[in-house]
Amino acid sequence: MVDPILSVEGLNKRFGGLAATDNVSLSVPPGTLHAIIGPNGAGKSTLIAQLMGALRPDSGRIVFQGEDVTALATPARVRLGIARSYQVTSLCPDFSVLENVLLASQLRDGGWLSFWRPAITYPRSRSRAMEELSKVGLADRSDRLAGELSHGEQRQLEVAMALASDPVLMLLDEPLAGLGRDEADGMVSLLHSLKGHVTMLLIEHDMEAVFALADCVSVLSFGRIIASGTVNDIRKDPNVRDAYLGTEGDAHA
């Protein structure tokens, strides 16, 4: 068996009486896309925050490429190869599109200890940034201010920024949120093209997208994983239908 890129073992996080993460364990093999679905408040964002190091779990372990990263701070995890995108777009609106991506790409090309030479004049980080921008289809927007982009383009930029740090594992927090059908289709095919190159943990509400992309799906409810398996397993699972898919299915019917 291949060693997993990410394995989470018995993760717990409580906020007062509320178990936001309740004994969560999961394992993501290299190159695959693991989706986490669940109703609002199921603890999906709390889980991502712990994986990224923004929140510290009460107990449990997070192992990344065989290394226990549970106690590491966010920047250290990024250097090991974890990147995330945000559910709420959080770019620097006054930066150009290129500068936003450069922020991420310069990390692997010397870091921030450069004070005199303009950041955009470093050919290597620039070309990597442009490469990521063309992957997401924003190459012709590189000189625009990020704040001027449409919502859909900003979501694409989020993904480009996550990609630009050359991650081994990408945590994608609802990359399809607020996208129109066409834009969503574009994002799904973008994520599809990344499969095999980057390991991804996808949090998403859009069932169609999850079923089209995921190698493995875990269903989170009240902080606990109530089901985990292939797309077909999850579709058939009666518990999942009750907890989540039932209402979604009705809405789509």
């Binding site: 920047p75 990024v78 959080s90 922020l103 990390l107 030479r117 955009i120 740090s165």
Partner: protein
């Protein structure tokens, strides 16, 4: 980038025009006022680096002006009273200003930069007042009354005095510090500093430690303000605890906000506006701070980009 170089060329042109005008008007007071303005502006440039680009509002930045000033003052005191004339060596003094500014900035930064917003403000205020009270309590160096700088700093035998010399040195210092901050802001360091201001969590999620980046910015800003204090002491011929009172830090903040946060030329524009308002309004009323406050509120509400924002808006509309 090219646009910025053109702006710098215009700035240098304007700076060079002041001495001939003062000469022609035979008004050395004008030149002295201009020098004071340029020196304050370079301290505002330093404040803008941490506040405009870094989002850190410090009520203690005048401490660094005080450091620069007191190095000159204390050196002059001993050179004049104790015959230790070697202390007047300007280069030696500048090295002392540099070292002390870096040390104090690292100390203040390590303590305060772990906090944010109002807590950062309060800690810098407290540390600033600590230095202020230390200066007040330094009876050997005049205490509350301060020190008159009889022995100006000397470079290769030339004393840093005379309206024209001080003006040129101040103009060069301001231009250099503005250029430095302009370069810093578009460097890799600058991108991370500005990004941490907009979104700290995101910046961490991109692999950066905002604390370290801010500490560097804080230290550079301390050194720039220290240099301004050095010039201020030589220009005014006098240093006193008032130089590092927290209200002086407040003035710097007002200048930066008036001029436009995070713009290269904003601090100079803001300082000119601030001193002009002070000059004009203090002639009309003793309570000149009240209308200045009202103007500041109007700026914050209607043109958050300050004077520079007004200028560029006009340019954009034709």
């Amino acid at each position: 980038m090219r646009k910025q170089l053109v702006s710098f060329a215009i700035l240098i042109g304007l700076l060079c025009a002041v001495p001939p005008i003062a000469y022609w008007l035979d008004d050395p007071f004008l030149l002295s006022l201009a020098s004071r303005c340029l020196i304050l502006a370079s301290a505002a440039v330093a404040t803008n680096l941490i506040m405009g680009y870094g989002g850190l509002i410090s009520l203690g930045h005048a401490v660094f002006i005080g450091i620069g000033g007191y190095v000159v003052g204390i050196a002059s005191h001993h050179a004049f009273n104790d015959g230790m004339t070697w202390l007047s060596n300007g280069l030696l003094q500048l090295v002392a200003v540099l070292l002390l500014s870096v040390l104090v900035a690292l100390f203040v930064g390590l303590v305060s930069l772990r906090t944010k917003g109002i807590y950062f403000l309060m800690i810098t205020l407290a540390i600033g007042q600590m230095f202020y009270l230390a200066a007040v309590g330094a009876y050997d160096y005049g205490g509350d009354d301060g020190i008159t700088v009889f022995a100006k700093s000397r470079f290769l035998g030339q004393a840093l005095s005379g309206h024209y010399l001080i003006y040129w040195v101040s103009a060069a210092y301001l231009t250099a510090s503005m250029f430095l901050v302009a370069r810093l802001s578009s460097s890799r360091f600058g991108l991370v500093l500005r990004s941490a201001k907009v979104n700290e969590a995101r910046t961490r999620a991109m692999g950066y430690e905002p604390f370290r980046v801010r500490l560097v910015a804080f230290t550079v800003a301390g050194v720039i303000a220290g240099g301004a204090g050095f010039l201020m002491a030589n220009h005014a011929g006098f240093v006193s605890p008032a130089m590092l009172h927290w209200t002086r830090s407040g003035d710097l903040i007002v200048m930066v906000v008036l001029g436009g946060l995070g713009s290269v030329f904003g601090p100079l524009a803001g300082t000119v506006a601030f001193l002009a308002l002070e000059e004009v309004l203090s002639g009309i009323t003793e309570y000149w701070a009240i209308p200045v406050g009202a103007i500041l509120i109007a700026v914050a509400l209607y043109t958050p980009q300050g004077v520079m924002g007004l200028l560029s808006r006009r340019r954009n509309h034709g």
